[in-house]
């Protein structure tokens, strides 16, 4: 038993067996051809498609992702510029004015109004002394005297010199952020200028990105809290539902799944001088819509190609294998034909040799017995003359019988010359049937002739045809019982061929006999047959360019069908 591995190994695919059961051989051949053809077509196609797929995908991705990156960078710069301007303004005030001047309520008010007018976005301004107490305040609340000394931003400002807070809700419930700048030029601990900035401007900046409705953009802080409201991922100060992307101050794009299972592109960048991250989120489906169209087209094309290849391969293989089968069958038939002819001719040569060798001693027996007969006849007083004459007569009779056998053998062997003449096939049949009339009459066998009078005249050998019909009619007569029937039918088949059918209702033949009837020396007439009648008949019909077929059923009868060409074939006479 072949293993699966053996069955489909490369070696076995190229193995086109010459032998084995025909059906199995062809199905193996067919299978191997199909597999090979499909392999050499589908595999390259598959790789091409795969390669194209990836190529297109990466190109398209770049084309879509790069603008996102550029947009994010640009917007980040706008944000940073906005923040930097305001921080500079606060810094400038903290540097340009002395603590004393800023402590002056009127002056402080004026400075605040200038800042508000020139930069916009400022909500309030406070001066905090080195103990953390707000000594001056301009703004919508009454925060003068508020002590910030316990708050962390104060410490951070004192340590770092400047501070920008996360966005938070103030007392009035609108989002804002705090900026603080330290001035420690006058004392060691220094005082702090603190400003609150309205984050409405953030919305303006995001709106200026000109995003399509399927795209979301927002700021988060480094703790993952939304600093501006998001379309899908929560309102202001809610928690951003993603893990924070890895720190990057240049715009970066990552592909992630959001909480609703959507694949999204996340473009983001960290701010250098503020604790914010700008995030733009675009659903992948949206981004790659054209890619999906292309992908499905690619896939469709691939499937269609595969189907077409399969169809063509199967059809082609079928046709090829069928042709091969036909060729093999034809070759096989031709080979059998040649073999049969060869067998006949070699047996013929053997028969001729044997006949010739036997003829010489037979001639001696003939002469010796003849002399004996002569001597007996010439002597009038030969004792037991009659008895001896009888004995010698029997010897001569046997010699005569041998002679007729050897002459028939030689006749079988030699290649008789075909003498072609134009003749009426019906006439030849009638003549031949006439030979057998006596015997038929005696045995009450009816020989029925159904001859087509429109049969064209054919060019063939009269004597040989007579021999053919005689042989078959003889066999038919031998096969039928007394009172039986033999029918001879002649009819044209097409323009070039005529057919003679000789049918009897005799004993018929079993399959085993039928297979051998055209072989020399095969006989069922024990003792009386030479087994040469039908082989000679076969040889003649073939020589005349015709064909002979036989069908038989035991106890039903036998049908000989002889087809003859209008003109005896060219090779005749060889």
């Amino acid at each position: 038993m072949m293993t699966w591995r053996d069955r489909f190994s490369l070696h076995s695919l190229f193995n086109f067996p010459e032998e084995g059961s025909t059906q199995k051989r062809y199905s193996l051949l067919r299978r191997n051809m199909i597999i090979l053809m499909i392999l050499v077509t589908i595999v390259p196609l598959f790789f091409m498609a795969l390669l194209n797929y990836h190529q297109y995908q990466s190109t398209l991705r770049d084309e879509i992702v790069n603008p996102m990156r550029v947009l994010v960078n640009k917007t980040k710069h706008s944000f940073e510029l906005f923040l930097a301007e305001r921080l500079s303004a606060v810094s400038f005030v903290a540097s340009a004015y002395s603590y004393e001047k800023l402590s002056n309520e009127v002056e402080f008010n004026r400075i605040f109004r200038v800042m508000k007018r020139e930069f916009g976005g400022f909500v309030d301004l406070g001066l905090i002394d080195e103990l953390g107490v707000q000594v001056s305040y301009v703004g919508p609340y009454d925060l003068k005297g508020k002590n910030y000394s316990e708050q962390s931003w104060l410490h951070e400002t004192q340590v770092r010199g400047g501070y920008v807070s996360d966005v938070f809700m103030g007392f009035r419930g609108f989002p804002h952020l705090v900026m603080a700048v330290l001035n420690n030029s006058e004392s060691l601990k220094g005082w702090i200028l603190r400003a609150t900035i309205d984050t409405d401007r953030f919305h303006d900046l995001i709106a200026s990105m000109g995003l399509d409705p399927k795209t979301d953009a927002f700021l988060i802080n480094k703790n993952g809290v939304l600093q501006t409201p998001s379309k899908w991922y929560g309102g202001l100060l809610e928690r951003f539902p993603f893990d924070l992307p890895p720190a990057s101050y240049e715009a970066n794009v990552v592909e992630v799944k959001d909480m609703s299972g959507r694949d999204v592109f996340m473009a983001y960048t960290y701010f250098a001088h503020a604790p914010y991250i700008l995030v733009v989120i675009k659903p992948r489906g949206e981004v790659l819509r054209s890619w999906y169209t292309l992908k499905s087209e690619l896939f469709f094309l691939f499937i269609i190609s595969v189907v077409v290849i399969f169809l063509v391969v199967f059809k082609l293989t079928d046709v090829l294998v069928h042709r091969m089968m036909e060729c093999d069958e034809r070759r096989e038939a031709a080979f059998r034909e040649v073999e049969h002819t060869h067998k006949l001719s070699s047996i013929g040569r053997l028969a001729a040799g044997v006949a010739h060798e036997i003829n010489n001693p037979m001639a001696i027996i003939n002469e010796k017995a003849g002399l004996m007969k002569d001597l007996i006849e010439f002597k009038p007083d030969f004792p037991d003359k009659e008895k001896f004459l009888g004995l010698v007569g029997a010897v001569l009779q046997s010699v005569h019988r041998c002679r007729s056998i050897t002459h028939r053998l030689l006749g079988f062997a030699r290649r008789m010359e075909v003498q072609v003449e134009v003749l009426d096939l019906n006439e030849v049949i009638r003549e031949t049937a006439a030979f057998l009339e006596k015997e038929a009459l005696y045995r009450k066998v009816q020989i029925k002739l159904e001859l087509d009078s429109t049969l064209p005249r054919i060019a063939s050998d009269r004597g040989q045809l007579q021999q053919v019909f005689l042989n078959i009619l003889n066999n038919a007569l031998a096969a039928v019982a007394d009172g039986g029937q033999v029918t001879v039918v002649s009819r044209p088949i097409d323009d070039d061929t005529n057919e003679v059918i000789i049918q009897d209702n005799g004993c018929g033949m079993p399959e085993a006999v039928l297979q051998h009837i055209f072989e020399p020396f095969f006989t069922t007439k024990k003792g009386t047959g030479t087994g040469l009648g039908l082989p000679i008949t076969y040889g003649i019909v073939k020589k005349l360019g015709g064909n002979i077929e036989v069908q038989s059923q035991e106890n039903v009868g036998t049908i000989f069908t002889i087809t003859l060409p209008l003109r005896a074939s060219e090779e005749s006479g060889s």
Binding site: H356, I364, E367, R408
Partner: protein, 122 residues
């Protein structure tokens, strides 16, 4: 018939001697030769009117002997004997100048008949 001289040429001794004896019984004087050379010598010595010649012999073949006889003594009648059932050899022989041919085993009456016909030049 008595004045006929017949020469039988055949390598089968038993056949040819018996045939000669049978012809003798019928009043025909037949000499015998067992091969082609001897046959040709006897044609020279005896000048037979009829030569019965086997086509298949060792040494000189019947056809060669026939051609020699015909070239030396064209008036000599020749009958051919053939062991093959083939009529072709006989016809071929007749084309070369033989008067007739017989197939072995022969019928003696047929032989004498053909000799007579050959003598009459038919």
């Amino acid at each position: 018939m008595e004045n006929w001289k017949v020469l039988l040429v055949d390598d089968e001794q038993e056949f040819v001697t018996t045939l000669a004896e049978r012809l003798g019984l019928r009043g025909i004087d037949a000499a015998i030769a067992s091969d082609g050379e001897e046959g040709l010598r006897l044609v020279e010595d005896l000048r037979p009117q009829v030569v019965v010649l086997d086509l298949m012999m060792p040494g000189m073949s019947g056809v060669e002997v026939l051609q020699q006889i015909k070239s030396l003594h064209p008036e000599t009648r020749v009958l051919l004997l053939t062991g093959h059932g083939s009529t072709r050899e006989g016809i071929e022989g007749m084309r070369l100048g033989a008067d007739d041919y017989l197939m072995k085993p022969i019928n003696i009456d047929e032989l004498i008949d053909k000799m007579k016909k050959a003598m009459r030049g038919e």
